[in-house]
Protein backbone atom coordinates (compact mmCIF):
# COMPACT_ATOMS: atom_id res chain seq x y z
CA UNK A 1 0.00 0.00 0.00
CA UNK A 2 2.82 2.35 0.94
CA UNK A 3 4.44 1.75 -2.42
CA UNK A 4 1.20 2.37 -4.30
CA UNK A 5 0.64 5.62 -2.41
CA UNK A 6 4.18 6.72 -3.13
CA UNK A 7 3.77 5.94 -6.82
CA UNK A 8 0.47 7.77 -6.97
CA UNK A 9 2.04 10.77 -5.26
CA UNK A 10 4.94 10.70 -7.66
CA UNK A 11 2.58 10.60 -10.63
CA UNK A 12 0.67 13.56 -9.28
CA UNK A 13 3.94 15.43 -8.71
CA UNK A 14 5.04 14.82 -12.29
CA UNK A 15 1.68 15.87 -13.69
CA UNK A 16 1.85 19.02 -11.54
CA UNK A 17 5.24 19.83 -13.07
CA UNK A 18 3.81 19.26 -16.53
CA UNK A 19 0.93 21.62 -16.01
CA UNK A 20 3.14 24.44 -14.79
CA UNK A 21 4.43 24.90 -18.29
CA UNK A 22 1.62 26.84 -19.91
CA UNK A 23 1.11 30.07 -21.71
CA UNK A 24 0.80 32.83 -19.10
CA UNK A 25 -2.46 34.75 -19.09
CA UNK A 26 -0.46 37.92 -18.60
CA UNK A 27 3.31 37.86 -18.85
CA UNK A 28 3.78 40.97 -16.73
CA UNK A 29 1.91 39.42 -13.79
CA UNK A 30 4.05 36.30 -13.95
CA UNK A 31 7.23 38.32 -14.18
CA UNK A 32 6.25 40.49 -11.25
CA UNK A 33 5.54 37.40 -9.17
CA UNK A 34 8.89 35.87 -10.19
CA UNK A 35 10.74 39.02 -9.15
CA UNK A 36 8.94 38.99 -5.81
CA UNK A 37 10.00 35.39 -5.22
CA UNK A 38 13.60 36.14 -6.18
CA UNK A 39 13.64 39.02 -3.78
CA UNK A 40 12.08 37.00 -0.94
CA UNK A 41 14.44 34.08 -1.38
CA UNK A 42 17.53 36.12 -2.17
CA UNK A 43 17.27 38.78 0.47
CA UNK A 44 15.57 36.52 2.97
CA UNK A 45 18.32 33.91 2.86
CA UNK A 46 21.41 35.97 2.05
CA UNK A 47 22.69 36.46 5.59
CA UNK A 48 22.18 32.94 6.80
CA UNK A 49 23.88 31.53 3.71
CA UNK A 50 26.74 34.01 3.98
CA UNK A 51 27.42 33.37 7.65
CA UNK A 52 27.14 29.62 7.37
CA UNK A 53 29.40 29.63 4.28
CA UNK A 54 32.08 31.65 6.03
CA UNK A 55 32.18 29.45 9.11
CA UNK A 56 31.98 26.16 7.26
CA UNK A 57 35.01 27.20 5.21
CA UNK A 58 36.79 28.21 8.39
CA UNK A 59 36.07 25.03 10.29
CA UNK A 60 37.04 22.86 7.32
CA UNK A 61 40.41 24.60 7.18
CA UNK A 62 41.03 24.31 10.92
CA UNK A 63 40.16 20.63 11.12
CA UNK A 64 42.19 19.61 8.10
CA UNK A 65 45.15 21.74 9.13
CA UNK A 66 45.34 19.85 12.41
CA UNK A 67 45.36 16.58 10.52
CA UNK A 68 48.04 17.80 8.12
CA UNK A 69 50.25 18.99 10.96
CA UNK A 70 50.26 15.49 12.44
CA UNK A 71 51.31 14.08 9.07
CA UNK A 72 53.99 16.69 8.64
CA UNK A 73 54.95 15.90 5.05
CA UNK A 74 52.16 17.76 3.18
CA UNK A 75 52.92 21.46 2.59
CA UNK A 76 50.46 23.79 4.29
CA UNK A 77 49.70 25.78 1.12
CA UNK A 78 47.79 22.71 0.04
CA UNK A 79 44.99 23.87 2.36
CA UNK A 80 44.10 26.55 -0.18
CA UNK A 81 43.14 24.14 -2.91
CA UNK A 82 41.67 21.73 -0.38
CA UNK A 83 39.25 24.30 1.10
CA UNK A 84 38.37 25.65 -2.32
CA UNK A 85 37.53 22.22 -3.68
CA UNK A 86 35.52 21.20 -0.61
CA UNK A 87 33.48 24.37 -0.79
CA UNK A 88 32.79 24.20 -4.53
CA UNK A 89 32.24 20.50 -4.78
CA UNK A 90 30.19 19.76 -1.76
CA UNK A 91 29.88 22.17 1.12
CA UNK A 92 28.53 25.30 -0.52
CA UNK A 93 25.87 23.77 -2.75
CA UNK A 94 24.74 21.05 -0.38
CA UNK A 95 24.72 22.94 2.88
CA UNK A 96 23.06 25.93 1.25
CA UNK A 97 20.44 23.61 -0.19
CA UNK A 98 19.73 21.99 3.17
CA UNK A 99 19.39 25.40 4.79
CA UNK A 100 17.09 26.54 2.00
CA UNK A 101 15.04 23.36 2.29
CA UNK A 102 14.31 24.36 5.86
CA UNK A 103 13.70 28.00 5.12
CA UNK A 104 12.03 28.37 1.75
CA UNK A 105 10.65 24.83 1.71
CA UNK A 106 8.51 25.42 4.77
CA UNK A 107 7.71 28.96 3.67
CA UNK A 108 6.36 27.90 0.32
CA UNK A 109 4.41 24.95 1.67
CA UNK A 110 2.81 27.11 4.36
CA UNK A 111 1.96 29.93 2.00
CA UNK A 112 0.34 27.69 -0.59
CA UNK A 113 -1.31 25.48 2.02
CA UNK A 114 -2.89 28.49 3.69
CA UNK A 115 -4.14 29.69 0.33
CA UNK A 116 -5.61 26.24 -0.28
CA UNK A 117 -7.46 25.81 3.01
CA UNK A 118 -8.81 29.35 3.01
CA UNK A 119 -10.15 28.79 -0.53
CA UNK A 120 -7.90 31.46 -2.05
CA UNK A 121 -6.72 28.98 -4.67
CA UNK A 122 -10.33 28.07 -5.50
CA UNK A 123 -11.09 31.76 -5.82
CA UNK A 124 -8.28 32.14 -8.36
CA UNK A 125 -9.46 29.03 -10.18
CA UNK A 126 -12.94 30.47 -10.46
CA UNK A 127 -11.57 33.64 -11.96
CA UNK A 128 -10.07 31.49 -14.70
CA UNK A 129 -6.46 31.78 -13.56
CA UNK A 130 -4.26 28.78 -14.30
CA UNK A 131 -3.35 28.47 -10.63
CA UNK A 132 -0.64 25.86 -11.07
CA UNK A 133 1.20 27.96 -13.60
CA UNK A 134 0.70 31.23 -11.75
CA UNK A 135 1.32 30.12 -8.18
CA UNK A 136 3.97 27.46 -8.69
CA UNK A 137 5.85 28.58 -11.82
CA UNK A 138 7.26 31.84 -10.46
CA UNK A 139 8.36 30.16 -7.23
CA UNK A 140 10.37 27.52 -9.06
CA UNK A 141 11.72 29.90 -11.67
CA UNK A 142 12.59 32.54 -9.06
CA UNK A 143 14.59 30.03 -7.04
CA UNK A 144 16.46 28.86 -10.15
CA UNK A 145 17.45 32.42 -10.90
CA UNK A 146 18.59 33.41 -7.44
CA UNK A 147 19.89 30.30 -5.65
CA UNK A 148 22.98 29.80 -7.86
CA UNK A 149 24.03 33.32 -6.89
CA UNK A 150 23.64 32.47 -3.22
CA UNK A 151 25.71 29.34 -3.72
CA UNK A 152 28.49 31.34 -5.38
CA UNK A 153 28.44 33.72 -2.44
CA UNK A 154 28.74 30.75 -0.07
CA UNK A 155 31.68 29.35 -2.10
CA UNK A 156 33.58 32.60 -2.07
CA UNK A 157 32.94 33.34 1.57
CA UNK A 158 33.79 29.77 2.55
CA UNK A 159 37.10 30.01 0.74
CA UNK A 160 37.72 33.33 2.45
CA UNK A 161 36.80 31.73 5.76
CA UNK A 162 39.53 29.17 5.20
CA UNK A 163 42.08 31.92 4.70
CA UNK A 164 40.98 33.77 7.83
CA UNK A 165 41.03 30.62 9.92
CA UNK A 166 44.58 29.84 8.76
CA UNK A 167 45.80 33.28 9.70
CA UNK A 168 43.99 33.30 13.01
CA UNK A 169 45.18 29.83 13.99
CA UNK A 170 48.70 30.42 12.70
CA UNK A 171 48.55 27.34 10.41
CA UNK A 172 49.56 29.11 7.22
CA UNK A 173 49.84 32.59 5.77
CA UNK A 174 47.57 34.28 3.27
CA UNK A 175 50.39 34.02 0.67
CA UNK A 176 50.62 30.25 1.12
CA UNK A 177 46.84 29.91 0.97
CA UNK A 178 46.69 32.01 -2.20
CA UNK A 179 49.32 29.83 -3.79
CA UNK A 180 47.22 26.80 -2.94
CA UNK A 181 44.09 28.41 -4.36
CA UNK A 182 45.75 28.72 -7.77
CA UNK A 183 47.07 25.20 -7.75
CA UNK A 184 45.43 22.38 -9.69
CA UNK A 185 42.20 24.21 -10.52
CA UNK A 186 39.59 21.75 -11.86
CA UNK A 187 36.94 23.40 -14.06
CA UNK A 188 34.64 20.40 -13.81
CA UNK A 189 34.27 21.07 -10.08
CA UNK A 190 32.75 24.42 -10.92
CA UNK A 191 30.53 22.79 -13.47
CA UNK A 192 29.39 20.34 -10.82
CA UNK A 193 28.67 23.17 -8.44
CA UNK A 194 26.46 24.83 -11.02
CA UNK A 195 24.61 21.64 -11.80
CA UNK A 196 23.90 21.17 -8.12
CA UNK A 197 22.83 24.73 -7.63
CA UNK A 198 20.14 24.32 -10.27
CA UNK A 199 19.03 20.80 -9.37
CA UNK A 200 18.71 21.40 -5.62
CA UNK A 201 16.51 24.51 -5.64
CA UNK A 202 14.36 22.92 -8.30
CA UNK A 203 13.78 19.90 -6.06
CA UNK A 204 13.20 22.00 -2.95
CA UNK A 205 10.70 24.42 -4.44
CA UNK A 206 8.82 21.88 -6.52
CA UNK A 207 8.44 19.47 -3.61
CA UNK A 208 7.34 22.28 -1.30
CA UNK A 209 4.88 23.48 -3.95
CA UNK A 210 3.48 19.99 -4.26
CA UNK A 211 3.07 19.58 -0.52
CA UNK A 212 1.47 22.99 -0.06
CA UNK A 213 -0.71 23.11 -3.16
CA UNK A 214 -2.46 19.82 -2.48
CA UNK A 215 -3.11 20.25 1.26
CA UNK A 216 -6.54 19.04 2.34
CA UNK A 217 -8.11 19.82 5.68
CA UNK A 218 -7.14 22.42 8.25
CA UNK A 219 -4.28 23.83 10.26
CA UNK A 220 -3.18 20.41 11.47
CA UNK A 221 -2.61 19.17 7.92
CA UNK A 222 -1.00 22.48 7.06
CA UNK A 223 1.62 22.02 9.76
CA UNK A 224 2.26 18.52 8.58
CA UNK A 225 2.62 19.64 4.97
CA UNK A 226 5.16 22.21 6.00
CA UNK A 227 7.27 19.69 7.90
CA UNK A 228 6.88 17.15 5.12
CA UNK A 229 8.13 19.71 2.63
CA UNK A 230 11.32 20.15 4.63
CA UNK A 231 11.85 16.44 5.26
CA UNK A 232 11.16 15.27 1.71
CA UNK A 233 13.09 18.02 0.02
CA UNK A 234 16.12 17.46 2.29
CA UNK A 235 16.06 13.77 1.47
CA UNK A 236 15.69 14.56 -2.22
CA UNK A 237 18.67 16.90 -2.01
CA UNK A 238 21.04 14.36 -0.45
CA UNK A 239 19.99 11.64 -2.88
CA UNK A 240 20.32 13.99 -5.84
CA UNK A 241 23.71 15.04 -4.51
CA UNK A 242 24.92 11.48 -4.75
CA UNK A 243 23.40 10.90 -8.17
CA UNK A 244 24.86 14.11 -9.61
CA UNK A 245 28.33 13.30 -8.28
CA UNK A 246 28.06 9.82 -9.73
CA UNK A 247 26.96 11.01 -13.16
CA UNK A 248 29.08 14.09 -13.64
CA UNK A 249 32.36 13.56 -11.85
Amino acid sequence: MFILDALEGFGKYISMLGSIVAKPEKLSMYWRETMRQMYDIGVGSFWIIAIVGLFIGGVTAVQFSNKLLTFGFVPMWWMGSMTRDSMFLELAPTISALLLAGKIGSNIATELGTMRITEQIDAMDIMGVNTRAFLLGPKILGSLLIVPILVIVACLLGTLGGALAGELGGFYTWEEYKYGLQDDFQPQYVRLMFIKSYVFPFLITSIACYKGFYVKGGSLELGKASTDAVVYSSIAVVIANFVVAFLFL
Binding site: E25, K26, T118, Q120, D125, I126, M127, G128
Partner: protein
Amino acid sequence: MIVTQDIRKSFGEQQILKGINTSFHPGQCNMIIGKSGSGKTVFMNCIVGLVIPEEGSILLNDRNIVPMNQKEKSVLRKEMGMLFQKNALFDSMTVEENVRFPLDMFTNMTMSEKSERVNFCLQRVNLPSANHKFPSELSGGMMKRVALARAMVLNPKYLFCDEPNSGLDPQTALVIDELIQEITREYQITTVINTHDMNSVIGIGDKIIYLYEGEKNWEGSNKEILHTENEKLNDFIFASEFLKEIRKLNNRTI
Protein backbone atom coordinates in the same frame (compact mmCIF):
# COMPACT_ATOMS: atom_id res chain seq x y z
CA MET B 1 -29.31 30.95 -17.74
CA ILE B 2 -28.11 27.83 -16.01
CA VAL B 3 -29.72 24.43 -16.47
CA THR B 4 -28.70 21.35 -14.51
CA GLN B 5 -29.81 17.94 -15.67
CA ASP B 6 -29.72 14.87 -13.44
CA ILE B 7 -26.63 15.80 -11.45
CA ARG B 8 -25.20 12.91 -9.44
CA LYS B 9 -22.15 13.01 -7.23
CA SER B 10 -20.75 10.58 -4.68
CA PHE B 11 -17.79 10.68 -2.36
CA GLY B 12 -16.75 7.09 -1.78
CA GLU B 13 -19.83 5.12 -0.73
CA GLN B 14 -21.79 8.19 0.16
CA GLN B 15 -24.06 9.57 -2.55
CA ILE B 16 -24.36 13.31 -1.95
CA LEU B 17 -26.33 14.46 -5.00
CA LYS B 18 -28.95 12.05 -6.32
CA GLY B 19 -30.05 13.50 -9.63
CA ILE B 20 -30.83 17.19 -9.48
CA ASN B 21 -32.74 18.95 -12.26
CA THR B 22 -33.32 22.65 -12.10
CA SER B 23 -32.76 25.93 -13.87
CA PHE B 24 -31.68 29.41 -12.85
CA HIS B 25 -32.63 32.55 -14.76
CA PRO B 26 -30.80 35.85 -15.31
CA GLY B 27 -31.75 38.85 -13.23
CA GLN B 28 -32.96 36.59 -10.43
CA CYS B 29 -31.62 35.56 -7.05
CA ASN B 30 -31.79 31.77 -7.03
CA MET B 31 -31.51 30.31 -3.55
CA ILE B 32 -30.42 26.82 -2.61
CA ILE B 33 -31.50 25.88 0.89
CA GLY B 34 -31.17 22.75 2.98
CA LYS B 35 -29.73 21.43 6.21
CA SER B 36 -26.04 21.55 6.88
CA GLY B 37 -24.49 18.65 5.00
CA SER B 38 -27.33 18.39 2.48
CA GLY B 39 -24.94 19.05 -0.39
CA LYS B 40 -25.44 22.73 -1.18
CA THR B 41 -21.75 23.49 -1.45
CA VAL B 42 -21.08 20.35 -3.45
CA PHE B 43 -23.89 21.30 -5.84
CA MET B 44 -22.56 24.82 -6.29
CA ASN B 45 -19.03 23.55 -6.78
CA CYS B 46 -20.36 21.27 -9.52
CA ILE B 47 -21.91 24.23 -11.32
CA VAL B 48 -18.69 26.23 -11.27
CA GLY B 49 -16.64 23.19 -12.22
CA LEU B 50 -14.59 22.78 -9.05
CA VAL B 51 -16.23 19.38 -8.48
CA ILE B 52 -16.99 17.09 -11.40
CA PRO B 53 -20.23 15.13 -11.11
CA GLU B 54 -20.31 11.47 -12.17
CA GLU B 55 -23.44 11.98 -14.19
CA GLY B 56 -25.52 14.73 -15.65
CA SER B 57 -24.91 17.95 -17.48
CA ILE B 58 -24.71 21.57 -16.40
CA LEU B 59 -25.44 24.09 -19.11
CA LEU B 60 -24.35 27.69 -18.75
CA ASN B 61 -26.08 29.38 -21.66
CA ASP B 62 -26.02 26.03 -23.47
CA ARG B 63 -22.35 25.30 -22.78
CA ASN B 64 -21.91 22.13 -20.77
CA ILE B 65 -19.19 22.59 -18.17
CA VAL B 66 -19.04 18.95 -17.01
CA PRO B 67 -16.85 17.49 -19.78
CA MET B 68 -14.69 20.61 -20.19
CA ASN B 69 -10.95 20.57 -19.61
CA GLN B 70 -9.13 23.18 -17.57
CA LYS B 71 -8.52 25.46 -20.52
CA GLU B 72 -12.13 25.49 -21.68
CA LYS B 73 -13.27 26.10 -18.12
CA SER B 74 -10.90 29.06 -17.84
CA VAL B 75 -12.66 30.75 -20.73
CA LEU B 76 -16.09 30.19 -19.21
CA ARG B 77 -14.93 31.29 -15.79
CA LYS B 78 -14.13 34.77 -16.93
CA GLU B 79 -17.92 35.19 -16.93
CA MET B 80 -18.24 33.99 -13.34
CA GLY B 81 -17.88 35.72 -10.01
CA MET B 82 -17.94 33.84 -6.76
CA LEU B 83 -18.29 34.68 -3.11
CA PHE B 84 -16.82 31.97 -0.93
CA GLN B 85 -18.02 30.81 2.46
CA LYS B 86 -14.66 31.85 3.96
CA ASN B 87 -14.30 35.00 1.78
CA ALA B 88 -11.10 33.78 0.15
CA LEU B 89 -9.56 37.24 -0.07
CA PHE B 90 -5.87 37.15 -0.99
CA ASP B 91 -4.30 37.99 2.34
CA SER B 92 -0.99 39.18 0.90
CA MET B 93 -2.77 41.92 -1.07
CA THR B 94 -4.56 45.10 -0.03
CA VAL B 95 -8.27 45.62 -0.62
CA GLU B 96 -7.54 47.54 -3.80
CA GLU B 97 -5.12 44.91 -5.11
CA ASN B 98 -7.63 42.18 -4.35
CA VAL B 99 -10.35 43.85 -6.38
CA ARG B 100 -7.91 44.80 -9.14
CA PHE B 101 -6.43 41.32 -9.46
CA PRO B 102 -8.87 40.02 -12.12
CA LEU B 103 -8.33 43.21 -14.11
CA ASP B 104 -4.54 42.88 -13.84
CA MET B 105 -4.73 39.30 -14.96
CA PHE B 106 -7.24 39.43 -17.77
CA THR B 107 -7.50 42.90 -19.22
CA ASN B 108 -5.21 45.32 -20.98
CA MET B 109 -6.68 48.34 -19.23
CA THR B 110 -4.35 51.14 -18.21
CA MET B 111 -3.61 51.69 -14.54
CA SER B 112 -5.97 54.66 -14.32
CA GLU B 113 -8.80 52.77 -16.02
CA LYS B 114 -8.28 49.92 -13.59
CA SER B 115 -8.26 52.25 -10.60
CA GLU B 116 -11.45 53.84 -11.78
CA ARG B 117 -13.17 50.49 -12.13
CA VAL B 118 -11.90 49.32 -8.73
CA ASN B 119 -13.11 52.46 -7.03
CA PHE B 120 -16.46 52.19 -8.76
CA CYS B 121 -16.94 48.64 -7.49
CA LEU B 122 -15.79 49.49 -3.97
CA GLN B 123 -18.23 52.39 -3.92
CA ARG B 124 -20.95 50.17 -5.26
CA VAL B 125 -20.57 47.91 -2.21
CA ASN B 126 -20.37 50.96 0.10
CA LEU B 127 -16.74 50.57 1.00
CA PRO B 128 -15.13 53.73 -0.28
CA SER B 129 -12.18 54.32 2.04
CA ALA B 130 -10.55 50.99 2.74
CA ASN B 131 -8.39 50.73 -0.40
CA HIS B 132 -5.08 50.32 1.35
CA LYS B 133 -6.13 48.07 4.20
CA PHE B 134 -5.23 44.41 4.31
CA PRO B 135 -7.95 41.76 4.69
CA SER B 136 -6.76 40.99 8.22
CA GLU B 137 -7.62 44.55 9.20
CA LEU B 138 -11.27 44.31 8.11
CA SER B 139 -14.44 43.21 9.87
CA GLY B 140 -16.41 40.23 8.57
CA GLY B 141 -18.97 42.44 6.86
CA MET B 142 -16.29 44.51 5.18
CA MET B 143 -14.53 41.38 3.92
CA LYS B 144 -17.79 40.20 2.38
CA ARG B 145 -18.10 43.52 0.60
CA VAL B 146 -14.57 43.34 -0.74
CA ALA B 147 -15.21 39.81 -1.93
CA LEU B 148 -18.39 40.98 -3.63
CA ALA B 149 -16.58 43.89 -5.26
CA ARG B 150 -13.91 41.50 -6.53
CA ALA B 151 -16.56 39.08 -7.81
CA MET B 152 -18.31 41.81 -9.83
CA VAL B 153 -15.27 43.68 -11.14
CA LEU B 154 -15.19 41.88 -14.50
CA ASN B 155 -18.97 42.26 -15.05
CA PRO B 156 -19.84 38.59 -14.56
CA LYS B 157 -22.82 36.93 -16.20
CA TYR B 158 -23.05 34.50 -13.28
CA LEU B 159 -22.61 35.20 -9.59
CA PHE B 160 -22.27 32.41 -7.05
CA CYS B 161 -22.50 33.06 -3.34
CA ASP B 162 -21.84 30.33 -0.80
CA GLU B 163 -23.52 31.44 2.42
CA PRO B 164 -22.92 35.15 1.98
CA ASN B 165 -24.43 35.85 5.41
CA SER B 166 -22.68 33.35 7.59
CA GLY B 167 -21.06 35.06 10.54
CA LEU B 168 -22.80 38.40 9.98
CA ASP B 169 -25.25 40.18 12.26
CA PRO B 170 -28.84 40.43 10.93
CA GLN B 171 -28.52 44.05 9.88
CA THR B 172 -25.26 43.61 8.00
CA ALA B 173 -26.65 40.43 6.48
CA LEU B 174 -29.59 42.42 5.17
CA VAL B 175 -27.28 45.00 3.61
CA ILE B 176 -25.28 42.30 1.83
CA ASP B 177 -28.47 40.63 0.61
CA GLU B 178 -29.79 43.89 -0.78
CA LEU B 179 -26.50 44.57 -2.49
CA ILE B 180 -26.53 41.18 -4.14
CA GLN B 181 -30.12 41.69 -5.25
CA GLU B 182 -29.46 45.16 -6.65
CA ILE B 183 -26.43 44.02 -8.59
CA THR B 184 -28.30 41.01 -9.90
CA ARG B 185 -31.20 43.13 -11.18
CA GLU B 186 -29.05 45.97 -12.47
CA TYR B 187 -26.70 43.84 -14.55
CA GLN B 188 -29.09 40.95 -15.26
CA ILE B 189 -26.76 38.45 -13.60
CA THR B 190 -27.77 34.84 -13.02
CA THR B 191 -27.17 34.68 -9.28
CA VAL B 192 -27.08 31.47 -7.25
CA ILE B 193 -26.96 31.66 -3.46
CA ASN B 194 -26.48 28.91 -0.89
CA THR B 195 -27.95 29.81 2.46
CA HIS B 196 -29.59 28.66 5.66
CA ASP B 197 -30.71 32.16 6.45
CA MET B 198 -34.51 32.23 6.16
CA ASN B 199 -34.46 36.02 6.32
CA SER B 200 -32.61 36.26 3.05
CA VAL B 201 -34.70 33.50 1.51
CA ILE B 202 -37.87 35.45 2.22
CA GLY B 203 -36.22 38.76 1.43
CA ILE B 204 -34.61 38.16 -1.95
CA GLY B 205 -35.42 34.58 -3.07
CA ASP B 206 -36.90 34.87 -6.54
CA LYS B 207 -36.53 31.16 -6.94
CA ILE B 208 -35.80 28.69 -4.17
CA ILE B 209 -34.83 25.06 -4.33
CA TYR B 210 -34.81 22.91 -1.23
CA LEU B 211 -32.28 20.08 -1.08
CA TYR B 212 -33.13 17.14 1.15
CA GLU B 213 -30.85 14.12 1.37
CA GLY B 214 -29.34 14.81 -2.00
CA GLU B 215 -32.58 15.38 -3.85
CA LYS B 216 -34.50 18.45 -4.85
CA ASN B 217 -37.48 18.20 -2.55
CA TRP B 218 -39.20 21.46 -3.36
CA GLU B 219 -38.95 24.39 -5.74
CA GLY B 220 -40.80 27.70 -5.74
CA SER B 221 -40.64 31.41 -4.97
CA ASN B 222 -40.42 33.33 -1.71
CA LYS B 223 -44.12 34.11 -2.03
CA GLU B 224 -44.97 30.43 -2.08
CA ILE B 225 -42.55 29.06 0.48
CA LEU B 226 -44.44 30.24 3.57
CA HIS B 227 -47.62 28.53 2.49
CA THR B 228 -46.23 25.24 1.34
CA GLU B 229 -47.78 21.99 2.49
CA ASN B 230 -44.48 20.16 2.10
CA GLU B 231 -43.82 18.52 5.48
CA LYS B 232 -40.06 18.31 5.27
CA LEU B 233 -39.68 21.84 4.03
CA ASN B 234 -41.92 23.12 6.81
CA ASP B 235 -39.84 21.27 9.36
CA PHE B 236 -36.80 23.01 7.92
CA ILE B 237 -38.27 26.51 7.71
CA PHE B 238 -40.11 26.46 11.00
CA ALA B 239 -37.39 24.70 12.88
CA SER B 240 -37.89 26.56 16.14
CA GLU B 241 -40.91 26.31 18.43
CA PHE B 242 -41.20 30.06 18.26
CA LEU B 243 -41.62 30.06 14.50
CA LYS B 244 -44.08 27.17 14.67
CA GLU B 245 -46.27 29.25 17.00
CA ILE B 246 -46.10 32.20 14.63
CA ARG B 247 -47.07 29.95 11.79
CA LYS B 248 -50.15 28.69 13.63
CA LEU B 249 -51.24 32.24 14.29
CA ASN B 250 -50.51 33.15 10.72
CA ASN B 251 -52.61 30.27 9.36
CA ARG B 252 -55.52 31.24 11.58
CA THR B 253 -55.60 34.76 10.26
CA ILE B 254 -55.47 33.71 6.61
